[in-house]
Symmetry: C2
Subunit: 219 residues, 2 copies
């Protein structure tokens, strides 16, 4: 049996604990093709329901495409800002929340809900399992990128139709994530929102329930 | 800046490529508390939208609880079987699709859609971002477990209400995954469904699109 050694295990934890959502620290340096291919191969080896592999990866490099997506972000972010109030709104507006133009590469990860036909093993009870498979691919991609010392930022403030139109994605394909990738000037030692006081890290004990769900307080 | 070395990078890829969905190979050996805590800590360091950390982990060890969940699987699987026909149905019925009773530990990963209040940074455009955050926690958990040489199996053929009732999970909390964890007699060298000829691995080139979506054939 293929064993993972102590040193290898430590490397996995180091990568998991030092993965960050990057917005402001992207450098323009090109990501070599072989590095990008390794990262995408790792994403492609995510678990998928019924081995459906519902994901696709649309690679964005063109300045013009990035400009369109940036406009989409600006619009969606203006809508988002109206949902916050007072001090929280000022705090929100001061945050940089994406690096669409700065990152040399964007990757749209999608989910093809029709792939391999109408009945998918393991997707008979919970129809969202295919979406979850594509999210697992996102997380594999993110960790592989961190292992390559490449930063990733997930831009979630963007309407699906902007991705559909800008990238020519067919109607029946669901965009799951738009990810910005690039080498970085630094990785924060904590999640940026934790560092900036937006929210605190919850204690591990507050999210673990032994045997049955227990009422816990989350602050 | 905290660099990942070549050896560490190789360890991450080794773990990603050798992660499997385990059903039949669980051994009864106890998972030590400190190992389980490391795995859950890794899950808790997944990315989450707006640093919302919407996940909880319900740990199942009791034989009685496992028996109830197994009954839930048997029922959902009987429903699933009716969706397959002919040779495919025979092939489906011959597969072992879960190890609920054999695995020493079960973990239900959930999503609390109300955590941190009604407005969540980054979850204003796509309301499913919180579900996706919990899926990222599943994938972190899965890779950390593999790094500990522990197998994980995701049981998706199980109705949410069985998890709600059996584990006492409140109505507003969404079960994302029921995972079986345990040491294993072996890890397959390929995904089991690939090995058994259920579906083939797609080529990387068929899922990568340069610049714009391209029509590709998926077989």
């Amino acid at each position: 049996m293929l064993k993972i050694t102590q040193a290898e295990r430590d490397a996995v934890y180091k990568t998991i604990f030092n993965r960050r959502d990057v917005r402001a620290e992207f450098k323009p340096d090109t990501i070599p093709d072989d590095v990008l291919k390794r990262i995408l191969t790792a994403a492609h080896h995510a678990p998928s329901v019924g081995f459906m592999q519902p994901w696709d990866f649309v690679i964005v490099r063109s300045e013009q495409t990035k400009q369109k997506l940036k406009q989409g972000f600006i619009q969606a972010n203006a809508e988002a800002e109206t949902l916050f109030e007072g001090e929280r709104k000022a705090q929100y507006s001061a945050l940089k929340l994406e690096g669409i133009l700065e990152a040399p590469i964007g990757i749209c990860v999608t989910c093809d809900r029709t792939r391999t036909g109408p009945v998918v093993l393991g997707r008979t009870t919970n129809l969202d399992m295919d979406l979850y498979s594509s999210v697992c691919a996102v997380q594999n991609l993110w960790l592989a990128a961190r292992a390559e010392n490449i930063g990733v930022g997930w831009v979630s403030i963007l309407h699906d139709e902007v991705l559909h139109q800008t990238l020519g994605i067919p109607e029946h394909i669901v965009p799951i994530a738009y990810l910005c990738l690039g080498y970085v000037s630094k990785f924060y030692d904590q999640p940026e929102l934790e560092k900036r006081g937006w929210l605190k890290r919850q204690s591990l004990s507050s999210i673990i329930h032994e045997g049955q769900w227990q009422a816990k307080s989350h602050k």
